[in-house]
């Protein structure tokens, strides 16, 4: 299979205006992915499916990722002259990363027996601009998985044939897989609470003692 760089270059040639970014992966798997701009998401998906070289005809998995707003700290070394001697000094740079939601698609080719190519689509923010193009018209198997992403992360897929909640009921308002989801306080006695459960039991205990 072509490398991700080659695929990226061919996408940008084939679809005018489309931009793709390679997202590095520091984990041991080093499985990199391709961030596609959501305006051209559908066209890129069609290209990946129909291209003679790639023929990515099978979407094995679609999932969501929630990236809440975060303060990123970067360390970098700066050369400074301290008391007439040049020294390397570490400086911290803080940047505020806005929150966004991502849909991740794992693509394989049944015809060419290769894969995966991982593409990501990113929303502008987590509240009102949470729309992405649905890839169900390209890979039919995405239908339920996109419904699940809609249900648990709150990404609205434009062009989806039947976008409803799938695991939770229709009147449900929250998105349970988001990082800031607050679950209802129905804590019950645990014989050996630990970690998050211990925290929860303490909070619950404080509330009980207030009442």
């Amino acid at each position: 299979m072509e490398t991700l760089e080659q695929i990226k270059a061919r996408i940008e040639v084939a679809i005018p205006g489309a931009s793709a970014t390679i997202i590095p992966n520091d984990s041991p798997s080093a499985q990199r992915s391709l961030l596609v701009d959501c305006g051209h998401g559908l066209a890129v998906a069609k290209f990946l499916r129909d291209d003679a070289e790639l023929k990515l005809d099978y979407c094995s998995n679609a999932t969501g990722v929630d990236w809440p707003e975060a303060e990123l700290t970067e360390k970098f070394k700066v050369k400074q002259v301290v008391d007439g001697v040049e020294k390397e000094v570490e400086e911290l740079k803080k940047t505020l990363r806005p929150g966004y939601l991502e849909a991740v698609y794992h693509l394989y080719s049944m015809a060419k027996k290769h894969g995966p190519v991982i593409i990501r689509l990113r929303t502008e923010n987590r509240t009102d601009k949470n729309h992405l193009p649905s890839l169900t018209p390209v890979w039919r198997g995405c239908e339920f998985q996109e419904r699940e992403i809609f249900d648990l992360y709150g990404i609205v897929f434009d062009g989806h044939p039947d976008l409803r909640r799938i695991l939770m009921w229709d009147g449900f308002k929250d998105f349970p897989m988001r990082r800031d989801y607050v679950e209802p306080d129905d804590y019950e006695y645990e014989p050996t609470p630990h970690d998050d459960v211990l925290l929860k039991s303490k909070q619950h205990g404080e509330q009980e003692s207030k009442v």
Partner: protein
């Protein structure tokens, strides 16, 4: 009746019993479960009814597909919050006398999904449960043990007096409120008449 007199009469070929024990004996040997499974525990429940474990020995081989014909609800598996109203509704549709076995870790407490957002933390929050079986999933022997425990419970029921079972007490509640789908959780989150949270000790 005096036990000594009873055995003396039996030696003479006279069999005596009470209406109560005859009535209960008949009931406990034909408890028909509702044919209804929710998750992997249902597979163990099916195994229990098959030849190797043979629940038919206890008179419970007839799994009824209709709640109107069932006496026993075996809640076999994970009760999700989306499924909980249907489980309560099925229970309400069963005719008295009716019994509930909560089978497995999920049905009794939420089990491995207890800290999750979509699983009910035990069906005993909404309906009265007669026998709880722990296990993930419980072996068929455990279900048979629960069934025998239930039979013991039925045979101990008095037909008169304040302790009489629900189906002989016209004032007793036999339908339980079905929870509604709320915006964040089921409403109410539990039925206070049948369940209260264990006391916080620490």
């Amino acid at each position: 009746m005096d036990e000594g007199l009873k055995s003396e009469l039996q030696k003479q070929g006279v069999f005596t019993t009470t209406l109560e024990s005859l009535y209960n004996w008949g009931r406990l040997n034909s408890v028909w479960p509702l044919q209804f499974g929710l998750a992997c525990c249902a597979i163990e429940m099916i195994a229990t009814t098959m030849a190797r474990y043979d629940l038919a020995r206890f008179g419970a081989e007839v799994f009824r597909p209709s709640p109107r014909q069932a006496d026993l609800m075996i809640v076999a598996g994970t009760v999700t919050k989306k499924m909980a109203p249907q489980v309560v509704r099925l229970y309400n549709q069963m005719g008295e006398p009716k019994y509930v076995i909560a089978m497995g870790a999920c049905a009794i407490s939420g089990g491995p999904f207890k800290q999750g957002y979509n699983v009910l933390k035990g069906i005993d929050r909404y309906i009265p449960v007669d026998v709880h079986i722990p296990g993930c999933p419980p072996r068929p022997e455990a279900l048979i043990h629960a069934f025998m425990t239930l039979q013991q419970k039925i045979s101990d029921q008095r037909l008169t007096g304040a302790q009489r079972p629900r189906h002989l007490n016209a004032d007793a509640q036999s339908e339980f409120p079905v929870p509604k789908f709320g915006e964040h959780d089921l409403e109410p989150a539990s039925n206070a008449d049948v369940w209260s949270a264990p006391a916080f000790v620490r």
